[in-house]
């Protein structure tokens, strides 16, 4: 029943045999131990599981692991470069854009997806892009500020 896949995850090629029904998020978390990617709902509503697939923000609970075959996946663990925090990570820290931190990896990757397409987004564009990511500690203001700060180079 295993289906062979090959996925470049955080710069490392990973080969595995997966059940065709296995969700990408479960493969990342359970098989690869990349538990930075979170699960917060059953319906693709919360965005906690957002990762980058070939540079685009994707909710990894809406994609099967087999669909990721041949693609490049970046999770929160792969964002920092050699221990150097990525600009969004720094900005989230500086702007107090997290409280419990559970939505944060998905939030940062959704923002990374946005900045990859639109390097200098207005506030409305940021809010639009993060619509699919829920923060229950209600930290949206600071999250938007953090994305603005990152877009401005982190200053």
């Amino acid at each position: 029943m295993g289906f062979p896949i090959s996925v470049e995850v955080n710069g490392v090629e990973r080969r595995a045999e997966v059940e065709p029904r296995q969700l990408l998020v479960h493969w990342l978390r359970d098989a690869l131990g990349l538990t930075g990617t979170k699960v917060g709902c059953d319906t693709s509503l919360c965005g906690a599981c957002t990762v980058l697939v070939d540079g685009r923000a994707v909710k990894s609970c809406t994609q099967l692991a087999v669909q990721a075959d041949g693609s490049r996946v970046t999770t929160i663990e792969g964002l920092a470069d050699d221990g150097e925090l990525q600009v969004l990570q720094r900005a989230f820290w500086e702007e107090h854009a997290l409280q419990c931190g559970y939505c944060t990896p998905g939030m940062i990757l959704a923002a990374a997806g946005l900045l990859a397409q639109e390097p200098d987004p207005e506030e409305t564009a940021i809010r639009q892009a993060l619509k699919g990511n829920l923060c229950r500690c209600t930290g949206y203001h600071n999250i938007v500020k953090a994305v603005r700060r990152a877009a401005a180079g982190g200053e």
Partner: protein, 657 residues
Amino acid sequence: MAGVLGTSIRRREDPALITGRGRYTADLERPGMVHAVVVRSPHAHARLRGVDVTAAAAAPGVLAVYSGADVVASGVGGVVPTAWLLPDLKTPPHPLLATEVVRHVGDGVAVVVAESVYAARDAAELVAVDYEPLPAVTDPRAATTEGAPQLYAEAPGNVAFDWQLGDAAAVEGAFAGAARTVELELRNNRLIPHAIEPRAALAEFDERRGALTLWMTSQNPHVHRLLLSLASLGLPEHKIRVIAPEVGGGFGSKIHHYPDEALTAWCAMQLKRPVKWTATRSEANQTDAHGRDHRTRAALALDGDGRILGLRVRTHAAMGAYLSTFAPAVPTYLYGTLLSGQYDIPAIHVRVTGTFTNTAPVDAYRGAGRPEATFVVERLMDLAARETGLDPAELRRRNFVPPDAFPYQTQVALQYDSGNYEPALDRALEAVGYAELRAEQRRRREQGGKLLGIGLSSYIEACGLAPSQVVGALGAQAGLWESAKVRVHPTGTVTVYTGSSAHGQGHATTFAQIVADKLGIPVENVEVRHGDTDEVPFGMGTYGSRSAAVGGSAIAVSVDKVIAKGRRIAAHLLEAAENDVVFEEAKFFVRGAPAQSKAWGEVVLQAYLAHNLPDGVEAGLEETTFYNPANFTFPFGTHVAVVEVDPETGEVAIARY
């Protein structure tokens, strides 16, 4: 360092969380770990005619399938109890799995344990449950009417409790003599808490020691350990370790003791394998304790000048299908006592009937009772303003407790320590440009087009849940103090063990600031530990805005004790009188002779060397406090919301807040 308290520093919690290294319960693994999935009732109310687990038990990867009968047969307590007892409260048992009747959608009837979550889910669908559906009631007032479906034989009319506070006769007198009365029917709708991290548990049973370790999504690990021991598992308290690792928000929902976490632990004890359970969002909808769900009729009596003479409140509050941990406290002690709001009300009477309904249990959620009280009082104030023709702000002004009346004893038990309500209202009105807004509102009414709505709410909250004697008198089966152990290490660095338990609040940063500020040492030299019952003293946890006020104070008092002991040692070393020794900026020195001093590190080291301590002083430097505050804190404020209403479509858009 001194002065670090109140400054803005980057949170020490964040580096792990922004790099994906935060370890929440569902992220944890243990060798040999297996997975539990709970089979839940699709009916709000049904008799369980049979639970057939044969097919499920034979499914691939399945280790065991248990029903409620298996839990009963194991001989453990097998229930989750309420921890707040009101007079004549009906307390039907809440079993880990239902045995005869299911009473809400989501009530657990069986649990499947399998090698993987996928295998457990597959097998859960094979559990054959024979339900005989029964009529259900979901409205807290309808539940008490003649002919309503009955949830428990021991609770006629579905009444869990009937509670009153205040002076009914005085209120009747006030209404009889009133120039004007207003009355309101309110529904405070049911809410689902929805912490972004669903509840989860990972249980491991050590057969050799007969001891259980349970990692779980908890706001108060010691409370969970206590209730697990007393009623659920048949294990003594000292054989249970509860750990709250990183917790992804709670908003009250992770205070309560639920069947699922206890059931996960029970499975681990049966199978001698680590067992993990993680709620899906759908399960969270069905089983996390909900909030609010009140039906209220309330009336206000006023004199000819718009001054309040009396307040009468009659509320039916849903308890849901079972009494959750603090459920009876929420619509009573946390609601009835707040009904005076910011106002000087000479007569108040409130009666609350808590009712069983075929819904998920209701318990503390965000504010818990206090927002419900504010909703009643402030809606009545707006209605009274409309009826009297007074501006809503002016009506509030006329009724505020005046600043010289504090401490102010309300007619509903609480004594407000301090407050000054009018300036808060003034500031809010000024910030929003109230006078111009009212003019604009009038203009729009005359000219047509989108209408403007202006809403005011002047609220009060009772925060820092405490003190123990008061909550004890009101039914709590626990004290509401907080613990803190401050351990100074021989090199002068400090570890703080707090009974408070963070789930996003940033305790590790804030509490380190308190210690660094008082001791004058770098904040990096202070480590904060919380959330592990084997590591920290018994603690009451984080909820009700109590962490800084009660938990932070406990730490401050422990640090004061540390400094006091340090002064005794320093005085001895300096050959000075203890009263002449001052501690500032990490230095003990003789008053008026700062050159005669001993540095913090020197005194700490001497405490541990114990070569030359004053008589009667023990070695070491470590102090513990169980801080029990004298009263709540009473924060207050005024909110203003401005909305635009399209009279054509009824669409409401928030314009200002």
